[in-house]
């Protein structure tokens, strides 16, 4: 598969996809992924391959181990192709928050591929060889770029896949998931990477499932809920229309549809960002130039050295999140922010649990808009960046599985349909999106 690596290099030059690329084909073959190139988001460790999570502070870090998901792919015969571009540590929605390459949208080079798993989505869209992508979502980092690039992005239940080997953003939210051109592709890769792992205590003990078994099961009798709050202000009318079209399509295939309410949707964004930044600010503390990553000449006291490494190594968004995250957990503010955010998170989970007592899946737009242009993005304030995640953070906070699948176009750009299901119910998402895919 050396040809694949050469081709990947060409695509990288055209679209800005890789932070590191395999030098040779070391795949073993002989499994469910024989002949398949698997790309890995930069924040997932590949033994011996520079793993920077999109950050300068990790320059030179070559992990001495494979992430569990990578190991499982190798075990199924895959070629580990390279490390795909992303926002630094996953801090972003447009994959522009990185000192390295910024991937462009395959449908319009002036537009963002989405983030933070931008390289993964972009490659999934443009690969003209058998390819699957390992991506990662904290608050929507699989769904968003999948939606913008018009591919399938599946974020599993929190605990369905092992995080061993993932460079942490916010550990209670991070989930390694998959992207593919088709639902079948996504179902296959998820089947390979899910299951218990002794190296990650937060992984569910549920035995691995073969998710490809759900393909072709149809949606007859499947109850689809449409949450009102997900079609409110800020959602592009064209996007709403395309998503409703897909919902009607499910109804036509035998599903039942009802509207319902998820009342805590409005506060989920604040809760998400507080928890994510609080955790991130502790995770990023370890990057101080002592044992791995960026090193600078040893001068002055240790804290001066740490400060120099961190000032040089982190870019602006990382610094912003470290400061905000540290603030929300400081004595005197901790109860008002961090602890309160945890309580809100429980409310958000309860919202979903109530909904799933009535319906099997929820349908909404993945992103309120189609991929914005880079000039639009640079005019946005940080808070406007964060607002873009308003539709994806609630299911990520709740740890429920979600899938984004293309459902039409607005201004020639793909629109994503977002389906969500209860914990461990990825099968229903696969059934529904596959039914739509084959009926299109």
């Amino acid at each position: 598969m050396t040809g694949v690596i050469d081709r990947a290099r060409e695509l990288d030059e055209e679209y800005g996809i890789f932070n590191a690329l395999a030098e040779s084909d070391d795949s073993m073959g002989g499994g469910r992924l024989e002949g398949v190139a698997v790309s890995v988001k930069d924040n997932v460790c590949v033994m011996g391959m520079e793993t920077r999570a999109g950050s300068r502070v990790l320059e030179g870090y070559r992990p001495p181990f494979d992430a569990t998901v990578v190991k499982k792919c190798r075990g199924e015969g895959a070629l580990i192709l390279g490390k795909t571009t992303q926002d630094e540590f996953g801090f972003g929605t447009f994959n522009v928050n990185t000192p390295f390459k910024v991937p462009v949208n395959p449908h319009d080079r002036e537009r963002s591929a989405g983030g933070s798993s931008g390289g993964a989505a972009c490659l999934t869209s443009v690969a003209d060889f058998p390819h699957l992508a390992l991506a990662e979502s904290t608050g929507g980092s699989i769904s968003c770029p999948a939606s913008f690039c018009g591919v399938v992005g599946l974020t599993p239940t929190y605990g369905r896949t092992s995080r061993w080997g993932l460079v942490d953003y916010a550990n209670s939210l991070d989930k390694i998931g998959v992207m593919g051109k088709t639902v079948a592709d996504a179902a296959l890769l998820l089947s390979v990477i899910s299951g218990p792992d002794e190296y990650d205590s937060t992984v569910s003990q549920a035995p691995p499932e073969d998710f490809t078994g759900y393909l072709g099961n149809g949606v007859e009798g499947l109850r689809v809920g449409v949450p009102r709050e997900y079609f409110g202000e800020g959602v592009d009318p064209g996007v709403s229309e395309a998503v409703w079209g897909a919902v009607k399509g499910l109804e036509a295939l035998g599903a039942t549809v009802k509207e319902l309410s998820l009342p805590h949707t409005g506060v989920s964004l604040a809760s998400y960002y507080i928890i994510a930044m609080a955790e991130a600010s502790t995770n990023l503390a370890k990057f101080s130039g002592l044992r791995y990553g960026l090193h600078l000449p040893l001068e002055g006291a240790f804290d001066e050295y740490f400060s120099r490494v961190r000032a040089r190594g982190f870019s602006e968004e990382a610094k912003r999140r470290i400061i905000l995250g540290t603030f929300t957990r400081m004595a005197g503010y901790r109860d008002a922010y961090y602890m309160k955010a945890l309580r809100v998170r429980t409310r958000v989970i309860e919202d979903f649990k109530r909904a799933f007592a009535e319906v099997d899946i929820l349908a909404a737009p993945t992103m309120p808009v189609v991929a914005p242009r880079f000039d639009e993005i640079s005019a946005m304030e940080p808070i406007q960046h964060y607002m873009m995640d308003v539709l994806t953070v609630a299911p990520n906070l709740a740890g429920i599985p979600m899938i984004s699948t293309p459902c039409g176009r607005v201004d020639g750009m793909p629109v994503g349909l977002h389906l969500m299901a209860d914990h461990m119910e990825e099968g229903k998402l696969i059934r529904a999106t596959h039914a739509l895919e084959v009926s299109a």
Binding site: R163, Y199, A278, E279, S288, L290
Partner: protein, 469 residues
Amino acid sequence: MKAVIGLEVHVQLETESKLFCGCSTDSEGAEPNGNTCPICLGFPGAKPKVNRRAVEHAVKIARALDCEVQPRFYFSRKSYFYPDMPKNFQITQYEMPLALGGHLLLDDRRIGITRVHMEEDPARLVHVGGSISSSLYTLIDHNRSGVPLVEIVTEPDLTSSREARLFLRKLSLILEHLGAYDPGREGGLRVDANVSLEGGQRVEVKNITGFRAVEDALNYEIIRQESMADMGISVMRETRHYDAESNTTSTLRLKEQEEDYGYITEPDLVRIDVDEAWIARLESEMPELPDARIQRYVEESGVPRFQAGIMVNTGLDLSRFFEESIRLFPRPGVVANWIVTFLLKSLNYEGLSLRESKVNPETFVELLALIEEGTITERLARELIKEYVGTGESPRALVERRGLASAGRDELGEAIGEVLSDNRKAVADYRAGQTRALDYLLGQVLRRIRARGDPVEVKRLIREALDSE
């Protein structure tokens, strides 16, 4: 003014592997940073995993201190930047610790235990060429990173430095009985002490290693606070550093500079739900604790309480020594008396601990058997025990080698006969009523048998010989 003292005691647990990874905790003689892995080095991508054995040790400690093990508990991240912490946060417990609300009895004094929780030890810093401030550079040894610690926090119930030392002795004894702690491990027990004078501000003295040092540090700090009060200066709330070499404390930081650790729950570890059956099993595995052991010595072996107390409180190895000795020589009263009165004194004189000495129960009871069978006198035995403690040589072999066995009846009879016939004047004096003459004759006989006999017995035999002459 009364001192008010509370302690935070950190104990290194005797587990085989570290708290969150499989690395060995036994780093004696190990290459620096040899017992490490991506987890305890905090490599990006690595995740901790709780060592169940360490949790079980901690539960037993909590129960031995009569603490309530919480139905659920979790770990937290304590954030601060320091080169001894590879992640720049420490995984510890904060809001929901392992156990709350126990106590430890010091005779009839009840010292409250606020909480017991688990955490990981940071790396060891080696300051090369001087102290932390004067060294040329500092090396970091991560062999200690992730070694399981249990932190035991007391209520401010202690009232003197001596009481603090007694508390620590008792605590370490309990930990030793539980097999959770090795008193021989260097730095295995580290203490932060909070001390104030009644009505005054609280001062925290950080990182004191060893019982003696705790007493010294507290003494220094109490006197410092008293003299400040005498001079009308108010004590400031602060954290102080104890320097064992100069036996002084110095300001580390004032209250306003206190670190804000920004605790969050450790998101890589799941909450631990405790089920009753598990606690019950651990309780059933718990060994006899020191107070119960003392009671047993008193009730089953008839040892005086003060002797039982001394033996048990000296350490688990002495208790084991006593128990093995009475198995070999089943006269507990004699054994206890000899241990407490003579063995400990001799060890002390030699400056040895039981562990360091070559003494063992097999050879120790030989000494008692030699007395009992009349081979040597008790008085000689008291002399010999010093030599035995010093060299560890079997007392029986020693007596034989040096020909120290008491003179037999024949030898004694012969010696008495010779002395009486050689000293007729003294015999005459004795008969004339001069009792001092008998002492003279005794001295002569003892010299002839080279003191290998009980003077009282010898004196009786001389009198017998004189009366029958």
